[in-house]
């Protein structure tokens, strides 16, 4: 009798665990969909199973150099904003940042497609991601 009760409790526990995780995943999906509708945030392009690694310090340093040459006169030397906006704690995807750098923003920011190649843009993104939030 006791064993039957414990086995039934185990089945209920597995069910409750799966329900809780499923509910959390559903809530996450709903929140992501809402965020995508109400902001300019783009969904990440990386597959969910890919484990992103922190950018190497050398790439961040190179990004900082490129930033000082191309971006600092509008965004400030510490990227905290001047003529252009503060770039700390960007809530946009890497793809969005790369697209903004290459295409520019009409009437606000020039295109840097001719000045910076893909490697430069990756370094710039690495530098922007390394900026402390807040």
């Amino acid at each position: 009798m006791k064993l039957r009760r414990e086995t039934a409790a185990l089945a209920a526990a597995v069910l409750a665990s799966a329900t809780a995780l499923g509910g959390a995943a559903a809530l996450a999906a709903d929140l992501r969909a809402r965020a995508a509708r109400t902001s300019h945030q783009l969904p990440p392009t990386d597959p969910w199973w890919a484990w992103p690694s922190s950018p190497p310090p050398a790439q961040v340093a190179r990004g900082r150099t490129l930033f000082l040459n191309s971006c600092a006169h509008c965004h400030g030397i510490d990227a905290d904003g001047d003529e252009g906006p503060d770039l700390h704690d960007l809530q946009v995807s890497d793809r969005y940042i790369a697209r903004t750098i290459t295409r520019g923003i009409k009437g606000e920011m020039p295109s840097f497609a001719k000045k910076h190649n893909a490697a430069d843009i990756s370094a710039l993104i690495a530098y922007l991601r390394s900026l402390p939030s807040g």
């Binding site: 006791k2 009760r5 409790a9 526990a13 809780a20 995780l21 999906a29 929140l31 990440p44 807040g134």
Partner: protein
């Protein structure tokens, strides 16, 4: 509501699962060692209460965390590490609390032994989640 409110709420509730899951595992372990002595029953009762309360706290932490990050259930960098431990910990805590409530006040010793192993694993996962959460906070507000 702004993400700042959810961030504050997340910071407030995460301490409940950290403290209570560890407390629950410790109380149940003590009760398990003491066997049939009267105090063991009280220790198991405390362990059961702490597990249920810790799990409720973990649900609050998960919900506020998802609201704070706009549904980013994996993230990147340190957040990915935080989540790598958070999801297994949450699933395990919910399962353990459910089993503990439904299995009655005095489950069989062997079943309780298996439960205890899982409870310590859950406590370890919760602590690892807390560690990476702390790293997120320290490194993102550091110099």
């Amino acid at each position: 509501m702004s993400e700042l409110v959810w961030a504050k709420m997340h910071g407030a509730v995460v301490h409940f699962p950290v403290a209570l899951s560890l407390c629950s595992a410790a109380l149940d372990a003590a009760g398990f060692v003491l066997g049939t002595r009267p105090v063991a029953r009280e220790l198991h009762r405390g362990g059961r209460f702490a597990m249920v309360a810790g799990t409720l706290g973990s649900a609050g932490a998960v919900i506020s965390g998802l609201l704070m990050t706009k549904g980013d259930w994996l993230g990147h960098g340190l957040l990915r590490w935080h989540h790598a431990f958070a999801w297994p910990a949450f699933g395990l805590l919910v399962g353990l609390a459910t089993w503990r409530v439904l299995a009655g006040a005095q489950p069989a010793r062997r079943a309780l032994g298996c439960y205890l192993v899982c409870a310590w694993i859950a406590a370890g996962l919760v602590m690892a989640t807390g560690y990476w959460g702390g790293e997120l906070l320290i490194r993102s507000s550091g110099p």
